[in-house]
Symmetry: C2
Subunit: 698 residues, 2 copies
Amino acid sequence: MSSLIEQLTMAPLIASVVGIAVAFFFYFRVKGLPEGTETMNMIGQYIREGAMAFLMREYKVLAFYSVGVFLFLWIAFQGQGTGLLAGLCFLFGAFLSLFSGFIGMKAATYANVRTSQAAREGSKPNALLTALDGGAVMGLFVASTAVLGLGVLYYIYAEDTHLATVLHSFAVGASSIALFSRVGGGIYTKAADVGSDIAGKVVEGIPEDDPRNPGGIADNVGDNVGDVAGMGADIYESLVAALVAAMAIALTARAEYINGLFTDGTTGMEARFLAVTIPLFLAGLGLAISILCIFIARALRANAPAMVLRAALVVPSIIMVVAALAIMPALGVSMSIPYALGAGAIGGALIGLVTEYYTAWGPIEKVAEASKTGAGTGVISGISVGMESTVVSLFIVAIVGFLANAVMPEGMGLYGIAMGTVGMLAGTAIVMTVDAYGPIADNAGGISEMSELGKEVRDITDELDAVGNTTAAIGKGFAIGSATLTVLSLFSAFILEVNFVREAEGMGSLVLKLDDAPILVGLLIGACLPYAVGASTMMAVGKAAQAIIDEIIRQFNEIPGLREGNAEPESTVIVDIATKAALSQMILPGSVAILAPVTVGFLLGPASLAGMLAGAVAVGASLSLFMANAGGAWDNAKKHIEAGGLEGHPKGSEAHKAAVIGDTVGDPFKDTSGPGVAILIKVMSVVSLLIAPLIATF
Amino acid sequence: MSSLIEQLTMAPLIASVVGIAVAFFFYFRVKGLPEGTETMNMIGQYIREGAMAFLMREYKVLAFYSVGVFLFLWIAFQGQGTGLLAGLCFLFGAFLSLFSGFIGMKAATYANVRTSQAAREGSKPNALLTALDGGAVMGLFVASTAVLGLGVLYYIYAEDTHLATVLHSFAVGASSIALFSRVGGGIYTKAADVGSDIAGKVVEGIPEDDPRNPGGIADNVGDNVGDVAGMGADIYESLVAALVAAMAIALTARAEYINGLFTDGTTGMEARFLAVTIPLFLAGLGLAISILCIFIARALRANAPAMVLRAALVVPSIIMVVAALAIMPALGVSMSIPYALGAGAIGGALIGLVTEYYTAWGPIEKVAEASKTGAGTGVISGISVGMESTVVSLFIVAIVGFLANAVMPEGMGLYGIAMGTVGMLAGTAIVMTVDAYGPIADNAGGISEMSELGKEVRDITDELDAVGNTTAAIGKGFAIGSATLTVLSLFSAFILEVNFVREAEGMGSLVLKLDDAPILVGLLIGACLPYAVGASTMMAVGKAAQAIIDEIIRQFNEIPGLREGNAEPESTVIVDIATKAALSQMILPGSVAILAPVTVGFLLGPASLAGMLAGAVAVGASLSLFMANAGGAWDNAKKHIEAGGLEGHPKGSEAHKAAVIGDTVGDPFKDTSGPGVAILIKVMSVVSLLIAPLIATF
């Protein structure tokens, strides 16, 4: 390793260690804050225990899964001489995800009740700060461990011939845990949400967070296991996958193309390893900038929190692009890299704006308006809005891809696209902070309501919650946009890897022609798979929600005094139903993601597998955007009506009930199936990349 | 033209002339039947006039469009020396579509009231026969004119260098008219259906076909313009596109690959033109078999009509495969062709069965069950069922593609896939007959109800209608399955054509590598487009339905005595709203389909265009299957509850109301957006194929 590369590798390692230290600082700061009344304390503890219990049971399932994959990799890569190494790197990637999820979610479950307490003390800025710090633990952990894990492996194995396998196995660990966490958490949170909502509002006529609702605790637990832990695993994976894609392309691209990246005449292995190191360095730079921005956001929080949080999603990327514009020429690197970064950063911000427009502005008024003539027209309108937003968002992704490709020197277009993704994900730490802030604020509202803290407290938590809803929608747009570009990069990395191996074996490149029948057959198979995950996750939420509704109705009928508020609901029974449903139903979609590329790869060969990935990314990217945005539109159309936005149709009117039905459909759309499909396509790409050497000579 | 090729070309021409003659025979037979009471006569006339008025106004819009495209082609193909020819062939393809739609729909609007009259006379077999004969006019016309049009052009231009342009322009005419008709008719029928349903049932509490409902006539008109005329244009296009794809591949495939098709040593131009002629010949064979089967179905109608109609969808394909197994060796043609045909025929039947399972059996009981806890869970459940059916159906299409490719000699895999499509579409005449039978029976029920003919008459028409609903779902599965394979074939035909032109210009083949950035960018653009059509058509139906609801409420409030049945509703106002909405809203999706390939092709070149088509087929095939099947599942879940299938939840219960909401969402899913998306991908492929020579040298 040359000293330049060593320095460029050390920088992100340092940034990530700082990130983890700051995360621990926030963790202990939040934990040390006062918890409020005994009731609040108790409810907070119920939520924390329910959430941690779910996580522990989920981890047990994942432990079995991980051991299985570990053994599979050990055996499968025996022939490559990397069996144990591949298995261990996979475990490392998985472990960092689980560890971040664990500590981040624990912080969130401390922060929720303490945010409620700060609101009870009447200080909105303090309440905001508590929720933000709680979210920052997860935000900093996921970004830092992603950079740290990859950085350490790269530092150790940079000059090892097995570097590719090391990085890819790490990514498979990150990706598959993300899929399980996101899908399991997503099923849990939406089953609990939909179930307790319907049973409460529709059947028993009581509000969402009413202390009598037996589903109230499960609903709040769900926010933590789905929107904090699940989301954390998702975002950790995004960063890992984007970096691995860029590094993998640099590792296998043709030498003369790599040389074209350098203006100072750097060539050969030095050029190649610089190209591998740059994405990691930039991610570390993004992390450092994000840490700074978190502190700036904290300082500015009192004035216009909505603007501050929104800016927080966009500003780090912009700063990083400017920094890259200054640094890259100094390293003798072509300006094309900061340009590609910039295309990604601007594209990400645009997608965020588009998502916000479709889920918070004019279009949701149309959905609310359509709800006046019933749920049928309301749902139709939301679907139409979701579809339209998909067109615009995906078109922006396409333009980013086009530009990131166009600015690069010959042959490095796909490296440029990977750089665009890195640019989009520069602010990961702060995006995740804001993402985790949302459910903490939401929980704080729930706790305030269940503890009957009164309207003034609830007003503060409601305002914090509203800010979180908008930023959550923006964050989702970012996530899916970056997922799409990441998959395109991984996809090309896969093909490069296949041909790299073939050439090393003296077999000659495989030309994957778009009009070869095996590729077209693969395309159709790939097009099925996102729907398989969509179907199974929608069904899982529907079934579990029905079981929860039945149980809540049973409790109201069988527990004397519950309806009158004189008896305690049996909340743990609901928590248990949601936990079991989530854990059992996450297996199928998770297995599809792992087994589909392995099966197609080994049975039909790399050409069909490439076709499959192409079909899956086209269908998966559009389907997940559609589901996420339609869900967001219904959610906010309902809130728009609740806020009195539809004259003559207040909360409780027929139009509002119609909008609630839209929201019910949208819940699993936006928080279970949509994100599940987005991760699916990444998992399949990462798995394909890992097994590329095994099937290259098919 | 060798005498063998001449004979093989004459056979389908004769079959199609026979088909048209038989169609006219049915037309006049139906027209001569008695019309029943004065009220029936009047209602029948209202429907006919409304339907014909829509068609006339639609044709005016299409005339402008056609003239525009005609001029564009004239200018664009000037350089190729085929300007006027391309324009005229386009007009010819469009004209045959419009002509078939006109006469077929006219027959349907004669048959509906006469079916009602036959039911009034108490004869179920006669009622069935009338509806069937009425449907057969459309069925025979679309299949016959497709074969006739292509056959005549081929006969004239077989030895002309411009044959490809001739065939492709004809297909563009057929495809673009199909898209407009399907989308325009789909918007009309579902806006009227949803609008009058909601206004009637929900707002005013009166049944769907109540004579007081001002939307009743428009609803029945909609069945004709959407499910008869729109569907007819769709199916005509399917056959044209499938044949043109097969012929285009044969025209441009490499000579040594073509030779591999023949076991008797035929080579050179004779081999190539035999390969071009065979699909046309087989379509003629399928048409002849279908004509026979229509007569057999008519003879057997008295016993188990449901079984007879179901068999009618599958049997012609099977007979054709058997016939092909006998004939092909006699022509010295490899057995691989009948094998590929067989794969398509069996795959088509399987998709039909899968579609029926998901939209008529166990899954719809689950959807009905989920409706017990409200519309939210009901809609979630239907989405899940729709998605699952998509996975299975698309997987079957993939397997058909795999097999049809695998059985072929080297290099002709895509010709095999095109043959599979021809096998799937062998029974077009009878499939369309059964498809058009459905809305005729539905109309007959509506007319009986509006004319207050009593329960016994209504029982007969209800039974006929129920049979039609199942067969409609099967027909839709067939249509989308064949559309997917057709697009794959067209897609490869496009690439072959591009390279054919490039080689003729001495430019060398374009290798479309799946991992080239322009292709991946195209893939993303293609993934957007089906959502653009989905969004605009869903929005169109939603908006028009709301306008209709408002107008119906106005009429009930402002027309004295309407609610009591003492005054006539102003039906024509509703007809007018639906007509205007349909005609204005079909422009955008239609333009997307034409302009997207032209824009991408000329701006980004053939590689991005190919990527775009790949993305569009992956997304479009899955999205349209999903929408069609989810819609079918909701529809039949509602009917299941109405038939008393959900104990304790009869018609009018909360569960039923929830299911009605699902059905409302499903209406535009299955009859507007789903089919619209399916045609979109075909139109884009056909347009790409046509402009291939213009952009090949990009």
